[in-house]
């Protein structure tokens, strides 16, 4: 029985990493949003599974939040943003998809090395989870720094945060997980609202910092 638990958990966590790679691979806006919804679904499944095997009912709440907020509301909202701002064309990446994927693989390897070394003592479940979670976090960051487009950066941030949730739930018996996930949802909500309100945020880069600093007289 333990075995099954472990394999399923492992499968789900690994699935999350896989979906992160799919996110990295995506080069169309809507596709990206859909894949992110998938990401959230996998996360909520994994969290739910953890809740089941740890017998920690409060984790179901986390799973639910993840499902509702990240798999439904936010993707839809971002969809509308994309349409509103008319940026549903391709996503400019920095340094192409291929190298990015390679880098991603390197990051996964790194996280494996770091974590499996570190958690030699901990129980296997936790080890797997932590390693995958770190991988997801790093991939999320990688996505943020390799995408020029605001929406895809937000997506990257949210996938990063999914990794955190995964880690939090993987850490058996960790308190405050729900609160933390709520807090993060607030953060994400802020970001989305920000994109809504400040139209200037079409891209992080479009705020022509140079112009601003000329205006401030900062540049010589």
């Amino acid at each position: 029985m333990e075995r099954i638990f472990l394999d399923v958990a492992h499968m789900l966590a690994g699935g999350l990493v896989l979906v992160s790679f799919m996110l990295l691979y995506q080069d169309r806006m809507f596709g990206l949003l859909n894949v992110f919804a998938l990401h959230a679904v996998v996360l909520s499944l994994s969290v739910g599974w953890q809740a089941h095997i740890q017998g920690a009912p409060h984790l179901y709440a986390t799973a639910l939040i993840a499902l509702v907020l990240k798999a439904l509301i936010i993707p839809v909202a971002l969809h509308r943003v994309v349409i509103k701002l008319g940026i549903h064309r391709t996503i400019e990446t920095v340094g192409g998809i291929g190298p990015t994927m390679l880098a991603g693989i390197g990051l996964v390897a790194l996280s494996m090395v770091v974590m499996l070394r570190a958690t030699a003592a901990a129980d296997p479940l936790a080890r797997e989870d932590l390693a995958f979670a770190l991988a997801v976090v790093l991939l999320g960051l990688l996505m943020m720094v390799t995408r020029r487009n605001a929406v895809s950066q937000i997506v990257g941030f949210m996938s990063l945060e999914n990794g955190l949730i995964l880690a939090a739930t993987g850490a058996k018996g960790m308190p405050l997980v729900v609160e933390i996930s709520v807090a993060f949802s607030v953060l994400v909500a802020f970001i989305v609202i920000g994109v809504f309100l400040f139209r200037i945020r079409e891209r992080f880069d479009t705020v022509d910092v140079q112009a601003l600093d000329d205006f401030r007289g900062e540049r010589r």
């Binding site: 996280s111 790093l138 960051l141 990688l142 020029r148 950066q153 900062e218 540049r219």
Partner: protein, 666 residues
């Protein structure tokens, strides 16, 4: 000791008071009177301590660095320097009672002046590293505020900036040096430092750091660049303090560390000191000779005198290292005596410059001339000061340099070859410096006081008020007194010398006819009093004889000048033309370039001669540093203008890097 503390407290209180009543008219007089009183009190107290030969007194205040507190201590050395400081400070305050009235913005001077005096006095009394450095930097800070007191001229702001920068560079070097002496245990008290001398390597480092720290404050070449900028920028009585007195505080710092705290010296320590000192002695006066600005000229000559003092200290170090206490005592006495003398005549000359400034509004000697008629009293004071600083008998400047020459003549006994070759060269530099300074001050006095007025302001000048005159003549009297009776000064400072090098010069007061004998009658002796007496007598004889036997007829007429028709004052010899021969002789050192632009015949344009003097040190040392800093600032400045994504990449990169480190961590 208590007197000094009370006086320092009084000064600080006075500073606060000045802040409150800076607006009122009487403030100036009140503040300077208080300063005068405090300085006189400290002068008396320290003189009593020095002459009574009392034991060192220490006081421990529960302020400053916790678990150490502020330790204050007065021994012969600090007492001697306190005398020097407060003599100059008292004269300056007296002078300023009158001079301060010409200040256009007194509220920028009054609060800082007493603070400056207090700071200098605390440095002399400090007995632990923290108190020492705090007061040291406080002194710099308050004098910085005084330098920028007339802040509307951009060059004053520039001067103040360079000054405060160099000052805190010096403070940091001293901080490191004292940190080394204190050791990892952090025993910052001077007593602990004395008790455990550092290892040779550490000592060498300390020497370098102290040379940088105290040297930059004293104005040793090549750390002198701030001095000729900052000293003239301040009000004249403050310039007098900075040049005549504050540099002595720096000398005190050097002596305190190198001859007292650090323990027995090594012979080669004197080599770098000697090199820098002789360089200062010559370069300072050479540049002084080229200046048109009277106060800047005086500032440069300060560099020269500092060089002379440090030559003496270097000799003292060398003799002490090779265990020749008598010679060491002689050299140190010469240095300390010159400390006293320079503080006297340099302050005097700055007072004169201030008097000229307030009378004519000019600092440029090319615009002066003929002041001998307009300002008779100032003329006398200036003439005395010039004679003294030119090291001419029977005034005081000569005595200290004479003693220094005597010390140099003892150096063949030294075993080390490096010193054998170095010291005569230093002696030649010293003589060269003395001769050049005579030239320099003939120029300064002759151009500004003699001849015919070169500008209406100098024709219509009037002598300064009584306070300023008194301030000047007090110092002049002191110069004469030390010059005629040097024996008493030497005996007075014997205690300090004894404490530092273990012995003292033979007692001078008991020698017949009050002459001074450094080592033995047969070797050398000098009697300022008799020289003065003879000169006076023979002058009187000559005058009497002439007026007895020769005709007393006298007729005023136009100047003969080889029969040339009387020309207007502009045709007089100018300061630049006076300096021209020396400029040509030392052209390689000064990098002087003269360009003559001679219009073709028939062309009405005037011919022009323009002289450019380049300061190599600035070009080779300081310009590159500042250039490097600004270029790297420009380079790094690009980091201000990245996009958020790029900043994120920085974070990401840092994260991956550290993770890799952990991954490969054993």
């Amino acid at each position: 000791m208590e007197v000094s503390l009370a006086a320092i407290g009084l000064l600080l209180g006075c500073a606060v008071l000045a802040v409150t009543l800076q607006s009122r008219a009487a403030a100036t007089r009140l503040v300077y009177c208080i300063c005068l009183a405090a300085c006189l009190a400290m002068l008396a107290a320290s003189a009593r301590h020095l002459l009574s030969g009392a034991e060192a007194r220490a006081i421990h205040l529960p302020i400053g660095l916790p678990w150490i507190g502020a330790r204050l201590r007065i021994d012969e050395l600090s007492a001697f320097f306190q005398i020097v400081i407060n003599l100059g400070a008292a004269a300056a305050s007296l002078y300023a009672i009158g001079y301060g009235r010409h200040e256009e913005a007194p509220e920028r001077v009054l609060p800082f002046y007493p603070a400056f005096l207090a700071g200098m006095n605390v440095v002399l009394l400090a007995d632990d590293a923290f108190t020492f450095l705090v007061s040291w930097e406080f002194m710099s800070l308050s004098s910085w505020a005084l330098v920028v007191s007339s802040h509307r001229e951009s060059e004053n702001r520039q001067a103040g900036y360079i000054y405060i920068l160099m000052a805190s560079f010096g403070t940091l070097s001293l901080l490191l040096a004292l940190g080394l002496l204190a050791g990892p245990t952090g025993s910052y008290g001077f007593a602990e430092m004395r008790s455990n001398p550092p290892s040779p390597g550490t000592a060498a480092l300390v020497l370098a750091l102290v040379l940088a720290g105290a040297g930059s404050k004293a104005g040793l070449v090549p750390l002198h660049i701030w001095l000729p900028l900052a000293h003239p920028a301040a009000p004249s009585h403050v310039s007098a303090l900075m040049s005549g007195v504050m540099t002595k505080v720096a000398v005190y710092g050097f002596v305190r560390v190198m001859l007292d705290l650090i323990g027995p010296p090594a012979w080669w320590w004197s080599l770098p000191v000697l090199a820098l000192a002789s360089a200062s002695a010559v370069l300072g006066v050479l540049f002084a000779l080229m200046q048109r600005d009277l106060k800047r000229l005086l500032a440069f000559s300060t560099i020269e005198n500092i060089g002379i003092i440090f030559i003496g200290i270097a000799l003292a170090l060398a003799f002490k290292a090779s265990d020749m206490p008598a010679a060491s005592a002689l050299a140190l006495t010469a240095a300390l005596l010159h400390v006293l003398n320079h503080s006297l005549f340099k302050s005097l000359l700055f007072f004169v410059a201030g008097a000229i400034l307030s009378a004519t509004g000019e600092r440029d000697i090319e615009k002066l001339g003929g002041l001998v008629h307009a300002m008779p009293h100032t003329t006398v004071a200036c003439l005395g000061g010039c004679l003294a600083i030119s090291a001419l008998p029977p005034l005081n400047g000569f005595v200290s340099e004479w003693l220094l020459f005597q010390a140099i003549l003892l150096s063949p006994e030294l075993p080390q070859w490096g010193l054998k070759l170095m010291i005569p060269a230093a002696g030649a530099m010293l003589a060269l410096g003395a001769a050049l300074s005579a030239t320099c001050f003939v120029r300064a006095f002759g151009i500004s006081f003699l001849g015919r007025p070169r500008s209406p302001v100098s024709a219509s000048a009037h002598d300064v008020d009584a306070y300023s005159r008194t301030g000047m003549f007090v110092l002049l009297a002191a110069c004469v007194a030390v010059g005629l009776l040097p024996g008493f000064a030497i005996d007075g400072m014997a205690g300090a010398v004894d404490r530092l090098v273990g012995t003292r010069m033979p007692v001078q007061a008991s020698i017949p006819w009050l002459s001074i004998v450094p080592i033995s009658e047969s070797r050398s002796s000098y009697n300022g009093l008799l020289v003065f007496f003879f000169i006076t007598v023979s002058t009187i004889v000559a005058v009497k004889a002439i007026h007895r036997f020769a005709s007393n007829a006298l007729r005023r007429g136009p100047a003969w000048d080889c029969g040339y028709p009387a020309q207007n004052p502009q045709t007089q010899y100018t300061g630049d033309s006076f300096a021209q021969p020396v400029r040509r002789v030392f052209a390689d050192v000064l990098r002087a370039r003269e360009t003559v632009e001679m219009p073709t015949p028939g062309d009405p344009r005037p011919a022009r001669l323009s002289v450019a003097i380049r300061d190599l040190l600035w070009e080779l040392l300081y310009a590159p540093i500042s250039g490097w800093i600004s270029s790297s600032a420009a380079l790094l400045n690009h980091l201000q203008f990245l996009t958020i994504r790029r900043y994120l990449s920085l974070v990401f990169g840092a994260l991956v890097l550290l993770l890799l480190m952990v991954a490969i961590w054993p």
